[in-house]
């Protein structure tokens, strides 16, 4: 135990720390939290690196901050993005992978979620909650300029977040902020201080301001809608200088970037719409980096000496929601449990991902989250129990039902695996595999069920692709909580809702784990959604790409990347 560090941390606790920060340090002192979890939560609460280092040193767990490696400067990186953006590049409306990847190269957020699920300061340098985490105060980075030449300040954050939470703006970030932050909740304190007054206590709110909410790119207060691709006007290391829909984009180094000079001169993005074409481009030397690959379609790249795979463990997953409100066998929780019990998850993970994935346990709590309660038993294949449950529900001979899904990645294969699996207990599962466009077509609001008529939210059973989140909040509030905007199972449970509210407001990891455990157990009992796996985010590049790390959500961050 380092006495000097102990004195420093004691002084910090007396003079600066609030109750949340003190709880966190107590947890560390009592050994109730791992070093990694402490760093993750400390960054979330806005503790400075000095305080984090002192706390760890005080409790005999020294923290080594790695020095950046020297990178060779110069060159233009050829990046392949697949599929292309499906609509205009307008950050607050990002809803597709191509759009978020294109925006992420130039854009910056208040905070950044790292590979290890810690938070790094970006356009905010520190953040601090009030006692019950309903008001968060962010200090903004001084001396930052937009690429248009204007100075960055609180007005810009205010305008950006007002657009993100405005129900009439077409914002896709409402899936994250609905019930958390409402219009009028963002207040400017001074030019470099902003406050977020939340609808309810949210301990992990800083994560929602990070790159995990990929729509939250900070833009100037006088930003004009539709001008993102016409004028460079973000704060990032690269300026978007040219954009041709469906074809490609060009970025040049931003000489005025607050973080210094990025090694690369620029980036040339080419959009692809065919897996074979993009793989051939990498193998044929016409691209340096593919921003995202799927194991199912990119097998040719694995074990190739000319290719490096960038793999990041995350919470990207597929959900198999089963409508709990329709007059069919799925209404009975025992039937839904039986279906979940037919799946051999380790075998599925091996077949579809060559083990580059974690087995799911039918809740959004991925193994990668520190708050996941690992004591909750893992659901395993058990055909006998599944048959018993089906018989008890009154379907000893099974039944027929249709599973609707989209032709994306390995999903059709997963659908076939589920079809074969449930056949063992007599269920005749018919598959209806649509294009992604058809699957997501239609309204998401209104109608008798409240979720419009789009197939992905209204069919009896389906499979949908879900992206990574640094914290499970948005998954809980949108897909599980009663009335969630993407609650495809139409699941309603007061018990689960209470546990979700308690989880979202919990500060200490131990409390989060307690409520996570409650949610996990309740979801296993009710099984509104099967979560078969959480797979690693994969990117691929030639061996000359240095310093690149894949982001679990798919953002392409190249400020530290170079070419050998």
């Amino acid at each position: 135990m380092d006495r000097d560090e102990m004195r420093r941390i004691d002084e910090y606790r007396r003079t600066t720390a609030g109750p949340l920060e003190n709880d966190l340090v107590d947890e560390l002192a009592e050994g109730g939290i791992s070093r990694q979890d402490f760093v993750r939560r400390a960054t979330m609460l806005g503790l400075s690196l000095g305080v984090v280092g002192s706390a760890l040193a005080a409790y005999d767990t020294p923290l080594a901050f790695g020095a950046p490696t020297a990178a060779k400067a110069g060159g233009r990186l050829k990046v392949a993005i697949i599929p292309p953006p499906t609509q205009e590049i307008e950050p607050h409306t990002f809803a597709d992978q191509g759009g978020l990847e294109t925006g992420s190269i130039a854009g910056e957020f208040l905070t950044r979620a790292t590979q290890g699920l810690t938070l790094a300061p970006e356009l905010a340098v520190s953040w601090k909650p009030n006692a019950n985490a309903t008001i968060w105060t962010f200090k903004l980075r001084p001396n930052v300029k937009f690429q248009s030449g204007q100075s960055f300040g609180a007005d810009d954050v205010l305008a950006t977040y007002n657009r993100l939470v405005d129900p009439k703006s077409g914002s896709q970030a409402l899936s994250v902020f609905k019930g958390v932050l409402s219009p009028g909740g963002i207040k400017k304190v001074d030019n470099l201080t902003i406050e977020f007054h939340l609808d309810a206590p949210t301990a992990s709110f800083p994560y929602l301001t990070s790159s995990t909410t990929y729509q939250a790119i900070i833009l100037p207060a006088d930003y004009k809608l539709g001008s993102f691709t016409k004028t460079p006007q973000t704060t990032g290391a690269f300026r978007l200088t040219s954009y041709t829909p469906g074809v490609g984009a060009k970025y040049d180094r931003n000489p005025g970037w607050w973080g210094g000079n990025a090694p690369l001169d620029g980036i040339d993005v080419t959009y692809y719409s065919d897996d074979a074409a993009v793989i051939a481009a990498l193998l044929g030397g016409q691209t340096d980096l593919i921003a995202q690959i799927q194991f199912a379609t990119g097998r040719a790249l694995f074990n190739n000496s000319k290719v490096q795979i960038f793999s990041t463990r995350g919470s990207t997953h597929r959900q198999v929601p089963m409508r709990v409100d329709l007059k069919n066998p799925l209404k009975d929780a025992r039937v839904r449990q039986a279906i979940a019990l037919t799946l051999d998850r380790p075998a599925i993970v091996k077949t579809l991902f060559n083990n580059l994935a974690d087995v799911g346990n039918d809740s959004p709590f991925a193994p990668v989250y520190p708050s996941t309660d690992k004591r909750v038993p893992q659901r395993k294949k058990d055909l006998k129990r599944a048959k018993d449950l089906l018989a008890a529900a009154g379907y000893p001979r099974g039944f027929s039902i249709t599973l609707t899904t989209e032709k994306v990645g390995e999903i059709p294969q997963l659908a076939q695996i589920i079809q074969r699996s449930v056949k063992a207990i007599g269920i005749n599962l018919k598959l209806n595999i649509l294009t992604a466009t058809a699957y997501f077509a239609g309204d998401q609001t209104g109608g008798p069920g409240g979720l419009g008529n789009t197939p992905w939210l209204n069919t009896p059973m389906n499979i949908t692709d879900w992206g990574h989140r640094a914290v499970p909040n948005a998954l809980l509030t949108s897909a599980i909580r009663t009335g969630g905007v993407w609650n495809a199972a139409h699941y309603k449970s007061k018990k689960t809702d209470r546990a979700i509210a308690a989880y979202l407001g919990s500060i200490a990891t131990s409390d989060q784990r307690k409520y996570a455990g409650q949610i996990q157990r309740q979801l296993l009992a009710d099984t509104p959604v099967v979560f078969p796996y959480f797979y690693n985010y994969l990117a691929a590049g030639s061996t000359k790409v240095k310093g690149y790390k894949a982001d679990a959500l798919g953002g392409v961050y190249l400020s530290r990347t170079s070419l050998a």
């Binding site: 292309p84 499906t86 609509q87 205009e88 409306t93 809803a95 129900p167 009439k168 077409g170 914002s171 896709q172 409402l174 899936s175 539709g226 041709t244 829909p245 469906g246 074809v247 080419t270 692809y272 719409s273 065919d274 074979a276 074409a277 993009v278 051939a280 481009a281 193998l283 044929g284 030397g285 016409q286 294009t435 466009t437 058809a438 997501f440 077509a441 239609g442 309204d443 998401q444 609001t445 209104g446 419009g452 789009t454 905007v485």
Partner: protein, 304 residues
């Protein structure tokens, strides 16, 4: 008249596509009220006939409208795509037309012999193989294994003519494989018919050499059906190369139309199809003129 009919069909087909433009543009989280207001602002609440006339008259004036998907002028997207498609079609035509005519002529003149069988069987086999298979095999061999040719058809910005052609070679080879058998077969049939015709026998009796007979009489007459067939392939080569454009990541008009249909970008879809239709009609017109030049009976028939 053809263009008018095409415009009616295209417009009607676009109306039949499922989905709502406002919903598609504003996203799934927008309220129905906002969606309705957006549709009204676009004039989509007007009678279909009014909408049709508005669109078609604008198209005739050269105003292609604004892409609903990308919010930029359609002409800015379709223009470069059309130029790209014309470039690819030109390179493919330059390769496949002479090759097929020579192949078909040799096969026709050597009817039933080994060369005829080799050319006919090889042509048919290549035509029977789906174009994506041919394309992938070509990419694997010439692009990845040997590294001789670029695997993507889009050249670097500012590339010269030679580099652009180099980038277009692999997709052109794939198209040659698709079209060679078809065009060569038509040419072969025409050559066989011409060789057996009275005027050919007369030419030999007049004492002309075999070379003179083939060039002046056999080819001139046998190419007539070939020209008609080649002209019909123009529409395919300009607007129907979706698979080739996707595999070689080429920004052609076929891919633009396909993406527009997928995303219900009606303004782009309708204009794209109309442009392909115009190109097709122009190619047919050129073929008719060429036909009349090569076939005196048509010219004289018209004069009478």
């Amino acid at each position: 008249m053809t263009l008018f009919l095409l415009s009616v069909i295209v417009f009607a087909a676009a109306q039949l596509l499922p989905g709502d433009i406002g919903r598609n543009v504003l996203g799934n989280l927008a309220s129905q009220k906002d969606v309705d207001a957006y549709n009204k602002a676009l004039g989509l609440d007007r009678p279909v006939v009014v909408q049709y006339w508005d669109w078609f008259s604008s198209f005739l004036r050269g105003d292609l409208g604004t892409s609903l998907q990308y919010k930029v002028p359609v002409a800015d997207l379709l223009g470069p795509a059309l130029v790209n498609s014309l470039k690819l079609a030109t390179v493919a035509f330059v390769l496949v037309v002479p090759l097929s005519i020579v192949g078909g002529t040799v096969a026709g003149l050597r009817r039933g012999r080994l060369r005829d069988r080799v050319i006919t069987v090889a042509g048919l086999s290549l035509t029977a193989i789906p174009e994506f298979v041919t394309a992938i095999v070509l990419i694997l061999i010439f692009g990845i294994t040997l590294g001789w040719l670029p695997v993507s058809a889009t050249p670097p910005e500012g590339a010269g003519v030679a580099t652009q052609i180099e980038y277009l070679l692999l997709p052109s080879f794939a198209l040659v494989a698709v079209l060679f058998g078809y065009i060569a077969r038509i040419t072969r049939a025409g050559v066989i018919e011409s060789v057996e015709a009275d005027y050919t026998r007369t030419a030999y009796l007049k004492g002309l050499s075999r070379r003179q007979v083939v060039v002046r009489h056999v080819l001139r007459n046998s190419l007539l059906p070939t020209i008609a067939v080649v002209a019909t392939q123009v529409g395919y080569l300009i607007g129907g190369l979706l698979v080739i454009e996707k595999l070689f990541n080429y920004n052609g008009i076929g891919q633009r139309i396909y993406i527009a249909a997928q995303n219900k970008d009606f303004t782009m879809l309708q204009s794209g199809v109309m442009i392909v239709g115009v190109v097709y009609l122009a190619a047919t017109l050129v073929a008719d003129i060429l036909y009349s030049v090569l076939n005196p009976r048509i010219r004289y028939g018209s004069a009478e």
